[in-house]
């Protein structure tokens, strides 16, 4: 009957049935993930085909106008992505799915002869490195400070940090970033004005190059962190203050537990739940949200790539980037949903059985 550790104490637990509902929850999430991805990919197929005019034709015409010969395989990919061929829609759709599965999004018009896939593969690590890391840092530092100021609410620390957070959070990012470049880059010359690394350097793994990359990343990273950290701080502070008013926190105090334990396990552990959802959204929008940062700082990531794609009406590239953005958002939400299972025991049942 009873096995292992618990048998020793004559205790059985509901853990096995909990594992069951956990599994069910996971399966549901995966199915939902697949369905959402499918919808996004299908929309990506339909939209160019529903646009007035024919973007595919326009691309081919541009290539021809510039005297670039298109290889048959490139033509086939553009075909599949933008709908040039005269095959029936289902046939086109089938071809399109094949291209997507093989991550073949055709050739970029503006960066010819690079393929869209090559361009994205080159740009993505820069964005993830800069905006992704900044977002993670901002979340953890901001949330941590939120816990701190809520614990010391109405004291000096709270007053000062919360005012600063409200101020930086309200500042328009674009102007703030421009001002940072102008003052710290141009006037004081402390940081490079633009780029991800020294002009002319070839990306490779060496300490010199890594230091150069970090040197280029500091200013844009700081602007991202400064502009987003206030939101995390204030959000967490408000959640924390609500949670600190809960009976279970009062009872924790009555139990004579240490302040640190009460602040983390009783208050922050409950207060962080809404923030986690926000964090998932923020991570999902790292790629999409990198646009301003990367344009201001001339950073070689996805935001800059998207900017150039739009400027040059580079439809294949835009479509490829669109898919990446959607994929990131969907994946981030999926991961947050999974994370919830671990941090909120109530979720399993609520989302696993219901809904």
């Amino acid at each position: 009957m009873n096995h292992g550790r618990r048998a020793l104490f004559g205790v059985t637990s509901g853990e096995s049935e909990r594992d069951g509902s956990c599994m069910k929850y996971f399966l549901k999430r995966v199915l939902l993930l697949i369905a959402t991805l499918w919808v996004a990919i299908t929309l990506n197929f339909l939209i160019p085909r529903m646009m007035p005019g024919n973007p595919g034709q326009a691309v081919i015409a541009k290539f021809a106008g510039e005297g670039h010969p298109l290889t048959p395989s490139a033509l086939k990919a553009i075909d599949a992505m933008l709908g040039l061929s005269h095959a029936s829609l289902p046939v086109q759709y089938w071809q399109y799915l094949g291209e997507v599965v093989h991550l073949n999004f055709g050739v970029s018009y503006s960066y010819f002869p690079y393929t869209v896939t090559e361009l994205i593969a080159k740009a993505l690590p820069w964005t993830l490195g800069l905006v992704g890391v900044s977002t993670v840092i901002s979340f953890f530092v901001g949330t941590g400070l939120g816990v701190l100021v809520a614990w010391r609410r109405n004291q000096a620390t709270d007053g000062i940090l919360t005012s600063i957070a409200a101020f930086t959070g309200a500042f328009p990012y674009f102007w703030f970033a421009l001002a940072a470049v102008y003052v710290l880059g141009f006037l004081l010359n402390w940081f490079p004005l633009s780029g991800g690394y020294e002009v002319g350097a070839i990306p490779h793994l060496s300490w010199g190059f890594i230091l150069d990359v970090i040197h280029h990343a500091i200013l844009p990273a700081v602007t991202v962190v400064v502009s987003s950290i206030g939101g995390w701080l204030i959000g967490m502070r408000n959640n924390m203050i609500n949670t600190l008013g809960e009976d279970y926190v009062l009872l924790a105090r009555a139990k004579g537990l240490s302040n640190r334990w009460i602040a983390t396990m009783y208050a922050a552990r409950n207060a962080i739940l809404p923030n986690i959802t926000g964090f998932g959204m923020a991570l999902g929008f790292v790629v999409a949200g990198s646009l301003l940062t990367e344009v201001v700082f001339g950073y070689p990531g996805m935001g800059n790539l998207l900017y150039n794609a739009v400027i040059n009406e580079d439809y294949p590239l835009m479509q490829g980037i669109f898919l990446v953005i959607v994929f990131c958002v969907i994946m981030a939400n999926f991961l947050v949903d999974l994370l919830y299972v671990f941090i909120d025991p109530r979720v399993r049942e609520r989302r696993g059985s219901g809904a």
Binding site: F9, V11, T12, D247, L251, K255, G256, S258, D344, P345
Partner: protein
């Protein structure tokens, strides 16, 4: 010597235009004694209970008086000094037991942390004690690894009561432990408390607006009105005859055996505003025995035949009659 001695305790809410929620309360609880605290909702019972355990939260503030528990003045100690004595000297069961458990920790974890904090018990001893207290409140041992949301309201309240016993506390403060529960569960929990009395050594401060429940479980009863104790009497005396007019009104509102009706006759008006207390006796505007003196002079809590009552009229009456030899 008494286990708990509350001396002239005053608690206010807010600094400007404060609410005087507890206005100079004094009483004692002796070892293994069960004391009840009764009064209408809003009269300051919870405020008093929290202040005794030094759990008052802003804007609540102890504005005067002392709480001496097991020889230590809790009102003179800092949070740091209090911490080692918390849950060992006094544990609490909150009014809304539903919300007293941390939703993201298992019951086991919430039992464990307080034992780890205060004892050097071994791992098996900690587990053993957790199971013991669950047995005490007649809950399946299985629920140890469950989360609060997996339990019913009655089970949660029992878990909270079980938790209160973990460290063999000297005093347990129960604030309306059964108010949110249905009658059947309420009955079970009351029976359970009486049964525990025979097994564990502890004192109890049982707070409720329900005089019937309080009389059932208490040795001695404190009647609270508008932030003050208006009567302190032994439960068996109260069952026969309450001294204070307010107590008598409460007694009249008890259900009469054989009738389902529970009318609240004899009490007109509503309790006074605790921000602006009228001069004189707080109960005067609602009292049937009121005299001119009552509106002018606030009565003191006076000893009468081993009981205490805060009333000009009843006080004199009983004192006069009390000089005769045969008063029961």
């Amino acid at each position: 010597m008494s286990l708990l001695s509350v001396e002239g305790l005053k608690v206010t809410y807010g600094l400007r235009n404060p609410v005087y929620a507890v206005r100079g309360v004094s009483f004692e609880i002796f070892e293994e004694e069960f004391v009840g605290l009764v009064g209408e909702s809003g009269c300051g019972k919870s405020t008093l209970g929290f202040a005794i355990a030094r759990l008052e939260r802003p804007p609540a503030r102890i504005a005067g008086g002392r709480v001496v528990l097991d020889g230590r003045d809790w009102t003179a100690m800092s949070e740091r000094e209090l911490r080692p004595h918390r849950w060992k000297d006094v544990s609490v069961v909150l009014q809304s037991g539903m919300n007293a458990l941390n939703p993201v920790m298992t019951i086991e974890a919430q039992f464990r942390d307080v034992m780890v904090q205060h004892t050097d018990w071994s791992e098996p001893a900690i587990r053993q004690r957790a199971l013991e207290v669950l047995d005490m409140v007649h809950i399946d041992r299985d629920i140890l690894f469950r989360y609060p949301h997996e339990l019913s309201g009655g089970m949660k309240q029992r878990v909270v009561i079980a938790m209160a016993f973990l460290l063999h506390p000297k005093l347990i403060i129960l604030d309306e432990p059964t108010t949110a529960l249905d009658m059947v569960v309420q009955r079970e929990i009351m029976d359970n408390l009486m049964e525990l009395r025979g097994r564990e050594k502890f004192s109890l401060l049982f707070i409720s607006h329900d005089l019937g429940l309080v009389l059932e479980i208490s040795d001695r009863v404190l009647i609270m009105y508008a932030g003050q104790i208006v009567e302190e009497n032994r439960a068996e005396n109260l069952l026969e005859y309450g001294l204070h007019p307010y107590t008598q009104a409460l007694m009249r509102s008890l259900p009469v055996p054989g009738s389902d009706a529970r009318e609240f006759h004899g009490l007109r008006g509503s309790p006074p505003n605790l921000r602006q207390m009228p001069k004189g006796c707080a109960f005067a505007p609602r009292c049937d025995l009121v005299t001119a003196e009552c509106h002018e002079v606030e009565p003191d809590l006076e000893d009468i035949n081993g009981a205490k009552v805060r009333c000009h009229v009843v006080g004199k009456e009983v004192r006069v009659r009390g000089s005769e030899p045969s008063i029961g």
